[in-house]
Structure formats: structure tokens, C-alpha cells
Amino acid sequence: MIKRSFLGLVKPRFEYNLAPDPVQDVPLPKTVTLLLKAGQNGGGATALKVGDPVKTGQKLASSPDSAEYVISSVTGSVSAMAPYVDAYGRQCTAITIQASGQDDWDDGFDKAPTLDTALKFFEYAPGNPSFKAFADPEKTIRTIVVNGMEQDLLLTVNQCVVQNEAADIKSGVEALKKMTGVDRILMTVPENLVQPATTTGAEVKTVRGTYPEGLPHMIMKDVVGQVVSADDTLADAGVVFVSAEAVAAIGAAFNAGQLPVTKVLTVAGKDGSTRNVRTRIGTPLGDVLQACNVTLTERDRLILGGPMRGIATYSEDLPVEPGTDGVVVQDDVDSAQATDYPCINCGECVRICPVRIPVNMLVRLLEARLYEDAAAIYDLHCCVECGLCSYVCISRIPIFQYIKLGKYELSLIETAEAANE
């Protein structure tokens, strides 16, 4: 953990981890768990039952046309199906598959490079790409940004992929062009990866190695040169972000004719050491930690993602998901402890905020649950969710949590209003 420097006058600077570790393989897990999100109508995976045989690369969904699906990453049989609610309250079905140890590939993958293929097979690719914006007639997507930067400190997943799998990214970029019809494909990488990135055929842009420059909104502002307004999504602005890992996985899928079933992730131990591993999607976190010789003890934190924006989870039986870029294990004594102390208006958060939000005022309104005023007056929706305000808060207010809560509550209000209309 980076502590306050002796000369507190200088703003703390966070460098991304720019030295990717080599990738090692995790042994094939005995079981995998895939979290199938409930569809619009809340239907579970009725098409599947315990005991059903599944093949590697087989698409599992509640119905063949369902927008939500998972791709089995092993061959075996379904051993359990249970309801699961994720950290943000979304209903899922946890499908546990007992692996047979052999890979028998499913041949359902349709290699036609169309948008339909992307929607039907690649939404569960590692890196969680989303192609829904291309199918939305109200949105005109002009640019795809292949992001070779990480979404958090410590992680090196995308950099690893750019470094080692530039050829797959090249195929992926071509496939993306065909599938989406978008010609302008940018690729954002740190300075030291420009060399492999230029071989991919995308337009290469460099991003500074300081956090949070790798976040999509910051890249939009600094690299694309287009500020996304607080009311719009990235897709509204005509841009879709896809992680470099996802593009490489798509490229490899077209080359090999097999759907991607593995995920690269960075594992950071208590001593801050990092290593990269490749594992099947759905592998229990405990298996990954075991392969990295990281042991958990009572009261540790097990964080999915990175130290600034990740989600702490409660069990090592939970699986690696397509969006899990990292697993950080943190000792209780090292973790930040939030307090309920009031803001003393020191202004550290105001000075560190990358988008110049008056956080000192914002947090007062959020504490008082005045979410609508917080959005209207103090720029709640401008927040890019980097977590730096909480990091520097001398009162140790969980500012980032308040911000996420505020956005969540507002989204509930908006959903309710839309339902009433």
C-alpha cells in the first residue's frame, strides 16, 4: 500500500503496474461454477437440469434465444444449480459443472463474422465485451477502442495479452471490423507496448502510466479528445470499449474455431507480489490461490479486481468470472478501515479528483441521502469511479461507497419512473 509521502504538499501519484509477469497455467479445475444472469423476465436456466452432460464451449442459457448465457469451460456434467445474488443485487443462477478431465469440444460455434455471432457467442468472452450497443438502433457507434490498459492498479492482464498475443489481437481487430462494420479501431497501450501494438493493424495511441488514465472516461478525454457528458453513456458518445484480452480471445476463436474458455488474471498476495495465471472461466478462486501458493487466513480480504475499484467477496468458492481481471488478497492489518467521522473540509479529495468534482460538498449531500441534488448540483454523474477521494480522505469517509450507493439509488428511481410512464 502506498502511504502518504512525507512532503504532503505533493499530490500522491499512482503508477500502473507496467511490468507484466509471465503467465502460468492453473491446472484444470475439478469443478467450475458459471454464473448465469437472470434474463429480462427473470427466468432461470430451465432448459438445464442437474445431471445433464455438457461439452467444452457449449452455450448454456435459459432458452436458445436468450440474451444472457454462459459458455461451459469444461466437459462434464451439471452437478448443482442454485440461485445466487451478486454484490449489486442482480439475480443469477450458479451452475456448477463437475469436470471429467478431458476436453470434448462442442461444435455449436458459428464462424460467420456477423454481429449476430458476436451477440450469440462473445458476450461471455474473457474481459466481458458487450456488443449490445451495436445492435441498438438508437446508437451510432463510430469508434471501437481496444483498451490495452488496466482498470486498476497492480493488474497486468491486458498488457500481458498485448505483449504475448499480438497476432490474435490482429485477427480479433479484423473480426471486429467485419462483425460491427466499424472502421475506426483505436488501441490504447502504455508507452512500452507500442511496438507489439503496431502489428495489430489498429490505430495505436499511448496512454500515460498514471492511474486513473486507463479508465474509459479518461481515455475518452485525453486520447479520443471527446469529453463524455455526465448524462451520456460511452455508447451514446459513439464509442465502445473492448479490452485487449477480449479482442485477442475473439481473434483466437476465429483462428481455432473454438470459443474462448480461459481467462488471464493477476493474483496479488499479501506481500504485494503479483503473478499472472491463465485459468478456465468458472474456476473456484480457492483453486487459483492454491496454484499461486497464496493462503487465506481468518479476517483476510479477498478482492475481485484491483485495490482501488475491486469488490471484496466472502468466499473462496466463488468462481473466476469473465470480468475478473485480478484477485488481491489483503491482510486485515493492511486494509483501509472506514469511519463515520464527518468531513473536515480539508480539500484533499477536491485536489486529487481527476474530473474536478467538488467531493467535499458531494459527500455531504450523499450522507444526507440527497441523491438527486447531489447529481444536479455537485456532479455525481461526472464521477469516473477511480476511488482516489476515499484513498486520501483524512476522515476515512467511505466516499467511493457513498458515490456508488448514490448512483445505484438514482438508477432505482429512474427505473421506477420509467415503469410509471
Binding site: 502506498i2 502518504r4 512525507f6 512532503l7 504532503g8 504538499l9 492498479l153 472516461h217 478525454k221 469529453v227 463524455v228 457528458s229 455526465a230 448524462d231 487465506l296 487466513t297 481468518e298 479476517r299 483476510d300 480480504r301 478482492i303 485495490p307 482501488m308 475499484r309 475491486g310 471484496a312 467477496t313 466472502y314 468466499s315 473462496e316 468458492d317 488481491v328 486494509s335 483501509a336 478501515q337 472506514a338 467521522y341 464527518p342 468531513c343 473536515i344 473540509n345 480539508c346 480539500g347 484533499e348 477536491v350 474530473v355 474536478r356 467538488p358 467535499n360 456532479d379 461526472c382 476511488g387 476515499s390 480522505c393 483524512i394 476522515s395 476515512r396 467511493f400 461507497q401 456508488k404
Partner: protein
């Protein structure tokens, strides 16, 4: 299935820079030590008594408030200690005990706790107490009168009082070097200019005090005093005299940049500091009071919420034009 450990779940971020309110307040106390020790070495045990009693009283008032209202204990954050220390530094060594009891009551209870405690005070607590005491008990804060039994080997009249009563001719006897080195009559912790500047620079470098406010306050005092002096040097003292006398330096580094009653954005901080400096000299030169520091800063504290509305547009903010 692997053995289950009980894990702690919390929200991001999981890293913190390790800063704490108590650490900050202890650093403020350390930074104030040079000036305080100088005062104690000059005035002896009575000065030590005033400082120690003020700190103790401030903590006790906070404790009483915590107990009476059944709130969680807040004396550990060091805020009450700092308030007591600063109020003690603003008092003459001869201040009677009941003035200290009353002053710390005003600072802690009236100035801070009735607004909701730390972070909610609209005014600077020690300054509010000082202002009310100066208005109520003129004699206690008449330094000429209060320190008449002391002879410390330098001129024992209060420079600002001489200036007010007799004009710049009366202050020619003070050398700037003496004033800067604390060889002047005044409050316990506010006469040793060098010590206050060293302490202040320490706080600024460690990031505990916003340099924008401190420096703009000093600039405001300097420029206004200079303009007065240029317009009529027979009537108004020079800028350096104003910087090194009265409460100017302790205010610049310990009182004006108090967190909750000062702005957090860059331009408001500059306006806040400069205007507080301007008001200070205005009161000293043409106002009724000998030293304008408590009143000028309290006045600017009131303008703080309005000033802090001047802020940069957040990136991505949608401006709705009527």
C-alpha cells in the same frame, strides 16, 4: 470443497494513504511548539499555566459535551487540544483562570459543538472565543496593562497599541529584528515570528495546511499595509511592521487555514486569504480595534460558503442554458 475462512467484506478502495485527523492535529501541536516554548521561556510559569490550563479546559469541555449528549468520545482526535493550545497562545500570560474557562467554553461548545462538532463549525473556534473575550474584557487583553509587572529586557509596550495611540512616530523605537525574534510584548504564542514561520512552513510542506490561504493572507496584509504606508507614511506604519506584530503570523499559519471554516477550491482560497489580510489592516489602520485579526477572519469565515461556490466546471458536466 476447501476449508472456509471467514473473510471481511468491505467497499473499495482497499488502500488508504494512512492519514488520520489525530495525526494531523498532533503535527499542528508540534509546529506550534517553537512559538509556545519561546513564550514560556519569556513569561515563565504563568505562561505555562495559561497554555496547559487552556488545553485541559478545552478537552474537559469536549468531554462534558460528549458525556451530556451521549455521543461517542471525540477527545482523542486532538481537535480540542489544538483549539485549547491556540486559544492559550492568543492570551497574555496574566490571563485570569476564569477567562480561560469561559474562553474554552465559547471555543469548544459555542464555536464548534453546537454546530455538530468537528467539521461543522462555520467559524474558527479559537478566534470566536478570542473575539468575544476581547469585546467583553478589554482590560485582560490590554497587553500594556496586563504585562506591566514584567521587564524582559526589551520594550514592554504593545507595538500595535502604541501605533494606534500615537502613530508611526511612536513605533520607531521597535527594530524589525527584535519584533521578528519575539522581543516584543504580546500574547504568549504569537510574538515569536521566526518560530511561527518555521512551524507554518513545516505544516505547509507536510500538506497539513493549505499554502494558498496562508500566503495569500500574508500578501493581503503586506499589500494593503504598503498602500496605506505609501499614501501617508506619517499616519500609517510600514507593511513589515504589520506582518511581525500582533496576531498576524499565528493567524496566517494556524488560524486562517482552519479546515472547516475556509474554502477548499483554489481561487476561493486566494480570495479568502487576501480579503482576510485586507480586512485586518483596514481594522488596524482605520477601525476601532487595536488588532483586526479576529474580526477580519471571522468575517471572511462567514463569506466562506459563498466563496467556495466559485469552482471549476467538473469534466463532463452538462451546463443547462436557460
Amino acid at each position: 470443497m476447501s476449508s472456509q475462512q471467514k473473510l471481511v467484506v468491505a467497499h473499495a478502495p482497499y488502500w488508504h494513504d494512512g492519514s488520520k485527523i489525530s495525526t494531523k492535529n498532533y503535527h499542528v501541536i508540534i509546529a506550534a511548539l517553537p512559538a509556545v516554548l519561546m513564550g514560556i521561556s519569556q513569561y515563565g510559569t504563568p505562561a505555562l499555566g495559561v497554555i496547559a490550563f487552556a488545553m485541559a479546559c478545552a478537552v474537559i469541555w469536549e468531554l462534558v459535551w460528549n458525556l451530556v449528549l451521549g455521543k461517542s468520545m471525540s477527545i482523542g482526535d486532538g481537535s480540542a487540544v489544538v483549539t485549547g493550545l491556540l486559544l492559550g497562545m492568543l492570551m497574555p500570560a496574566t490571563a485570569p483562570w476564569w477567562v480561560i474557562v469561559l474562553g474554552t467554553f465559547i471555543a469548544i461548545i459555542v464555536g464548534k459543538q453546537i454546530f455538530g462538532g468537528i467539521g461543522f463549525n462555520p467559524l474558527n473556534p479559537p478566534l470566536l472565543a478570542l473575539a468575544m473575550l476581547v469585546i467583553s474584557f478589554k482590560g485582560v487583553f490590554d497587553f500594556d496593562e496586563a504585562l506591566r509587572h514584567y521587564d524582559l529586557g526589551f520594550i514592554m509596550t504593545y507595538p500595535l497599541a502604541d501605533l494606534k495611540a500615537f502613530g508611526p512616530a511612536a513605533i520607531e523605537k521597535f527594530s524589525l529584528g527584535d519584533l521578528f525574534m519575539g522581543r516584543q510584548a504580546g500574547a504568549i504564542g504569537s510574538t515569536f515570528g521566526l518560530g511561527l514561520i518555521v512551524g507554518g512552513l513545516y505544516l505547509i510542506l507536510r500538506g497539513y495546511v493549505r499554502w494558498e490561504i496562508s500566503l495569500s493572507f500574508l500578501a493581503g496584509v503586506f499589500i494593503t499595509a504598503l498602500l496605506f504606508n505609501l499614501s501617508d507614511s506619517a499616519k500609517y506604519a510600514g507593511p513589515l511592521f504589520h506582518l511581525f506584530t500582533g496576531y498576524t503570523l499565528i493567524a496566517a499559519f494556524f488560524l486562517v487555514p482552519e479546515d472547516s471554516s475556509s474554502p477548499a477550491n483554489f481561487i476561493p482560497m486566494l480570495i479568502f486569504g487576501v480579503l482576510a489580510g485586507v480586512m485586518t489592516v483596514l481594522i488596524r489602520n482605520i477601525g476601532a480595534y487595536v488588532d483586526g485579526v479576529p474580526f477580519s477572519i471571522l468575517l471572511m469565515n462567514l463569506a466562506n460558503p459563498l466563496l467556495d461556490k466559485i469552482r471549476p466546471k467538473a469534466i463532463g458536466k452538462v451546463v443547462e442554458n436557460a
